[in-house]
């Protein structure tokens, strides 16, 4: 029997499979489809202080093996999330969740994280400093080591839970930003968020998305995500959640060999709502076939001296 357990910052996950923020709502839609208790954990939709509608539509565009989204952080606001969404989720999901927060100022990040971290249900706070779809917030904090460090410090100062900084791939040196977060006290890192992208409607001669550009996600970005997870995991001593383009058990193992502690599955949930269950079912068999007893044994194998 292989062991799929992974330990991250106080949470012992039954398996490393976590649906990614923004692609699993607050779990409700998926709980209708399968028993979501099989999941390692769930990363909740990005939450801001106030309720947000997000950007005007169209906010989805199709790409080759991927998609652009420019949702712009639609969410009911932190109070509704803590008072309604999390309690509702608790009825169908018994494990701890990862709360994802975003803000338009360092203060908002801290306020939002503090509030949501009070929930018993929340095991980890994931701080999105990498949303490419809102101006004046999100990614603005994730593209310089200094700003990333400042957000980290502010959130760490108030959060009652371990803090993971969610990093943007739209940078020259992701490892440098990762190190700044680590230095500022981050307990872990989540990466990658989406890559800035665009499609043009040649009939209308303007961008498909009303927001003009959006974030690219899905299988197309997997090799980019894997390289960034590799570079980051090598550079820091805190856990890394590998995110980006994963849709198969073999890609979970690639991510862990690149140095990830656990993984998050995003867009794949939209294409196949049962994909996380499939991966969780396939993983042990694949591990067995590959001679892997437990995931700790292969973490970083792609770069660690054997």
């Amino acid at each position: 029997m292989v062991n799929t357990e992974v330990y991250i910052s106080g949470l012992m996950l039954e398996n490393p499979i976590i649906p990614a923020s923004g692609t699993f709502g607050y779990g409700r839609e998926f709980a209708e489809l399968y028993d979501i208790n099989i999941l390692g954990s769930i990363a909740l939709k990005g939450t801001t202080m106030k309720r947000r509608y997000g950007n005007e539509g169209p906010r989805i565009a199709e790409c080759e093996r991927g998609m652009l989204n420019s949702i712009g952080l639609q969410n009911p606001g932190v109070d509704a999330v803590t008072d309604e969404e999390i309690p509702a989720l608790s009825e169908v999901f018994t494990k701890k969740v990862i709360a994802n927060v975003c803000g338009f100022s360092i203060e908002e990040y801290a306020l939002c994280a503090e509030k949501i971290s009070r929930s018993d249900k929340v095991g980890i706070i994931e701080v999105n400093i990498s949303c490419p779809n809102v101006s004046g917030g999100g990614m603005a904090f994730g593209t310089s080591p200094e700003a990333a460090g400042e957000v980290t410090k502010a959130v760490k100062a108030v959060s009652k839970k371990p803090v993971y900084m969610k990093l943007s791939p739209n940078v020259t040196d992701i490892a440098a930003i990762a190190k700044a977060c680590e230095k500022a006290g981050a307990d872990g890192l989540s990466l990658i968020n989406t890559l800035a992208g665009m499609r043009v409607d040649i009939k209308k001669r303007k961008p498909v998305l009303t927001n003009k550009s959006g974030g690219l996600s899905g299988p197309a970005i997997f090799p980019i995500a894997l390289k960034m997870v590799h570079d980051t995991a090598k550079a820091v001593n805190i856990p890394v959640m590998g995110i980006g383009g994963i849709s198969r058990a073999s890609e979970v193992l690639e991510m862990i060999m690149a140095g990830a502690h656990a993984v998050q599955i995003g867009t794949a949930n939209l294409i196949d709502p049962w994909v996380c269950r499939k991966i969780i079912e396939e993983l042990p068999a694949l591990m067995e076939r590959s001679g892997i007893d437990d995931l700790d044994g292969i973490r970083g194998a792609a770069w660690k001296k054997q």
């Binding site: 709502g25 489809l33 199709e62 949702i71 899905g218 867009t267 939209l270 294409i271 709502p273």
Partner: protein
């Protein structure tokens, strides 16, 4: 909602660039006319949403128009091909909602379709017939060669009017040109038509389209603002009540 393989049992041109496709598979969970399916087209990443035109015990019928690469690929799918489909999706038309109005003034019940928006209204008309409800029907198309299902509607409804924008079939004009303005309307069609119908109607339910990431409520890609806050076209829609709609 289930994900299942459906088999193409018919796929034929019924009007200019417009095809009727019958998909054999489970239809038991479909609750209401106006619900839709999300259909995987090989080689394309996102599934394509199509209204269920009508369903029988054995198959689902959809009517689609070539709009881009995905529908283009669909048009050359052969009988026997298997397609992965999410079904059923969305809320569908609520036939109860109009009952009170209907009881008062049954003559003012209208089905108003524009272009391919006509498709789900055919299934709706069939269901209404079963319940003994006899709506007026107005179908609007660009021009004669785009018209489809006129006969199908005439077979089940007594009062069917077809209008075309260029006058090549039926009266020349728009659906709204022959609305009286006091109707409760079941509408589906292009946004500009929906808006015009909305303005001229007393009440009703309107079928919307939106670019979709998932089709089942997970991504917030399809959201729109309504009087009751934001709604997901794929889940709280695609059918919105007249009083919910914000333009």
């Amino acid at each position: 909602m289930k994900q299942q393989d459906y088999e193409v049992i018919e796929n034929r041109l019924i009007a200019k660039n417009t095809y009727e496709m019958k998909l054999m598979g489970n239809t038991g969970e479909i609750k209401r006319p106006g619900q839709f399916i999300n259909l995987e087209v090989k080689g394309f990443f996102l599934k394509r949403p199509f209204s269920i035109c009508y369903r029988t015990r054995e198959y689902i019928c959809i009517v689609y128009k070539i709009a881009g690469g995905g529908t283009e690929a669909m048009s050359s799918m052969a009988v026997g091909e298997k397609l992965s489909v999410l079904c059923p999706l969305g809320n569908g038309y609520d036939m109860e909602d109009c009952c009170s109005l209907l009881l008062r003034k049954s003559s003012s019940l209208l089905i108003a379709g524009g272009g391919t928006g006509t498709a789900p209204l055919y299934g709706l008309a069939k269901e209404m017939l079963k319940k003994g409800i006899k709506p007026k029907v107005i179908l609007g198309f660009g021009s004669k060669d785009e018209v489809f299902y006129e006969e199908n509607f005439r077979d089940i409804a007594s009062d069917v009017t077809v209008v075309t924008e260029d006058g090549s079939l039926g009266e020349k004009g728009l659906v709204t040109d022959i609305m009286s303005g006091d109707e409760y309307v079941f509408a589906c069609g292009p946004t500009s038509m929906l808006k015009a119908v909305w303005e001229k109607s007393a009440g009703g339910q309107f079928g919307f389209e939106s670019r979709m990431g998932c089709g089942f409520g997970a991504c917030m890609g399809c959201s729109c603002k309504t009087t009751g806050g934001s709604k997901r076209i794929c889940r709280e829609g695609p059918i919105l009540k007249r009083e919910e709609i914000l333009w």
